[in-house]
Amino acid sequence: MTLPRLIFVTGKGGTGKSTVSAALATALARRRPTTLADLDGRHAAIRLVGAVAHDTGAAKKNGAKNSTESAAALDVITITPHGELETFIERIVPLRAVSRRMLQSRTFGYVTTALPGLEAFLVLERLRQLAGQAALKDRFVAIDAPATGHALELLAVAGGIRNLAPAGTLNRLSSAVEEFLIDRNRFGVIVTVTPEEFALREALEAAGELRDRLNIGCVGAVLNCVPPALFTAAEIAKLRRHEGHARLADRRHESAEFARHARQALERAGIAVAELPMLYAATLGAREVATLSRRLAIEMIIQ
């Protein structure tokens, strides 16, 4: 897969967005310095790589270096809508006393809430800046984004803002953000999917929306939790008299079969697929993420 500077990982809830973005960032970090950014507000991906979450401001100051062996060149940041609004206000109102006063005002809070998509737009603007810096320094950025529905709304915001602001700072920014989102070298989406009917459907719908409505590049799908095949259909047939074990074997077999079907459906829709195995482990932590990252590097041919 050809990777853009910034990779935006989304998918249906429960398909492993955080795990995949953590594994992806870890894999990328073995090749180039990489930033893992949490957009989800939950820091799940950041915790999975064994780092401590910092808010936007702190991360900017400290560089927030991570210390795990697998990720010597991995740093983590979190991006929050409110944090981005603060940064924006500080930028357009250079007098600190005034900008602080604005941010503390309840009135201002109400109005920015009422300005549809402003905060979301500023998040996109931040992603554009991150990608720009990454291009200059030959880095990668992996984003643990919200679930598909919210993510698509977020990505559609830039056009809306340009319509709202006919001139001025935001109008200029919105064109830049729109250009960024459709630039295959700078921005691309990875959709996570598990071998389940609804997850597959949502992934296909999301990929369709990206292509047809938003003209945004879909790097590919990560088909997550694929059970390593163990039983043949003939073997399962032999288990008929061993009910409990048959059910378990069947479960694994069906899931593996559905994964195959999902892969075909995605590929038919023109989406490249990288597969990650189901990890039968009692915990899911930094070690498991490292395992997945190695597999992902091979599947995605990260060089």
């Binding site: 939950r42 005034v98 109005v111 709304e153 602001a165 009910e243 009692a282 899911l284």
Partner: protein
């Protein structure tokens, strides 16, 4: 199974299902609604999830946001039982609300055409939450309905949904609104220096960003002037409905570490709002594992036996992961809250009968003995 009905509804009239995204909240809401209907009640189920999943499982037309009746044929429901399903359209509900409360036709037109309103009603997070509650009030006024099951949008915070009426009121009734709509009269007093400063920075913000929205915001707020009382009244009713003793709040989650974290946050948020948590439903629980000894005794080729053993070990690891997540959830649940479990079907319910089976297989997870005792 410990009890015939893991979730005892008694005389409840409203069941609210809350929880993080991707846990099967919509499916479980539908199953609970169907089960109550099969039990003879007249039930309405409403989903606010943008994906038409619930309607799919119920065999209804996706994309239709009117109330549709679900056929209960062949499910053994007594005469008079009824199940209807509705997919919420927040924008349409908001428009209807404006039409109902607008003091005049011209006021109504002004609001519906306002740039802020058009964006606010479509895009602003929180409006969908508020509209779900508005629709809920409407449904609850239908006396033919015995039980309403409400599936909520996947929220980052439970507060987002349950707190929506209060936040809406706060926005409309705030000093900001008065301030913005006051125009020139601001200069004649009644406003603090802070308000004046806020107004000045807002004006600056408007100019710098190029949004030129201040005028629109003012017009929007002013147009709500005559409607505030109507909104306040609805919001108060909604608050009362959510807190009614005949309302049951069910938190839906799965036994995965990350979802449990989120569920615990929901529980804390609910208690901050002063809301009673009726039950916690853990969806997609693994079934008990088969006996390892059975493998050795089985008359099967050795290679297949080795595979069975490996498969069992694999699933045992997953089950261990699940049970540590469940332990953590259990430790965070307020005393006396019922913990119920729904089994993992292995696939999404495809037919109505699957949903009915799912609801029937809900069981109570005993807080002392753990789930080992169940089934």
């Amino acid at each position: 199974m410990k009890t015939a009905q893991a979730l005892e509804l008694g005389d409840r009239r409203l069941l609210i299902c809350l929880g993080p995204g991707g846990v099967g909240k919509t499916t479980l809401s539908a199953a609970l609604a169907l089960n109550a209907a099969i039990g003879g009640r007249t039930v309405d189920v409403m989903t606010v999830d943008p994906a038409p999943r619930l309607l799919d499982a119920l065999g209804l037309t996706a994309g239709d946001s009117t109330m549709q009746t679900v056929s209960l044929t062949g499910l053994g429901a007594p005469r008079g039982a009824r199940l209807r399903a509705l997919k919420l359209d927040p924008k349409a509900t908001f428009d209807l609300l404006i039409e109902r409360h607008a003091p005049s036709a011209s006021a109504r037109e002004a609001i519906l055409a306002n740039r802020i309103y058009r964006n606010l009603s479509g895009a602003l997070a929180g409006v969908a939450d508020y509209m779900a509650i508005e629709k809920l009030l409407e449904l609850s006024s239908d006396t033919s309905t015995g039980l309403i099951v409400l599936d909520t949008p996947p929220a980052r915070e439970a507060l987002d949904f349950l707190d929506a009426p209060r936040r809406m009121l706060e926005l409309l009734g705030s000093r900001a609104v008065t301030l913005l709509s006051a125009g020139r009269s601001v200069l004649r007093g009644g406003f603090s220096m802070i308000d004046l400063a806020a107004r000045a920075v807002l004006t600056a913000f408007d100019r710098l960003t190029g949004l030129h929205l201040l005028g629109d915001v003012q017009a929007f707020v002013a147009s709500f002037d005559g409607m505030y009382a109507g909104f306040a009244d609805r919001a108060a009713q909604a608050q009362a409905l959510i807190r009614d003793p005949r309302t049951l709040v069910v938190l839906v989650t799965t036994a995965e570490a990350e979802r449990v974290d989120q569920a615990v946050e929901f529980i804390e948020a609910l208690s901050k709002l002063g809301l009673m948590l009726g039950a916690v439903a853990v969806n997609r629980m693994m079934a008990p594992l088969p006996d390892e000894a059975a493998i050795a005794d089985a008359d099967l080729p050795a290679a297949l036996k080795r595979k069975l053993k490996r498969n069992l070990d694999d699933f045992a690891a997953l089950r261990q992961r699940e049970s540590s997540a469940l332990d953590r959830l259990r430790a965070s649940i307020p005393a006396g809250t019922r913990l119920i479990a729904a089994p993992d079907l292995g696939h999404e319910p495809r037919r109505l009968a699957d949903l009915a089976a799912l609801a029937r297989s809900l069981r109570v997870v005993d807080s002392d003995e753990g789930e080992k005792e169940c089934c």
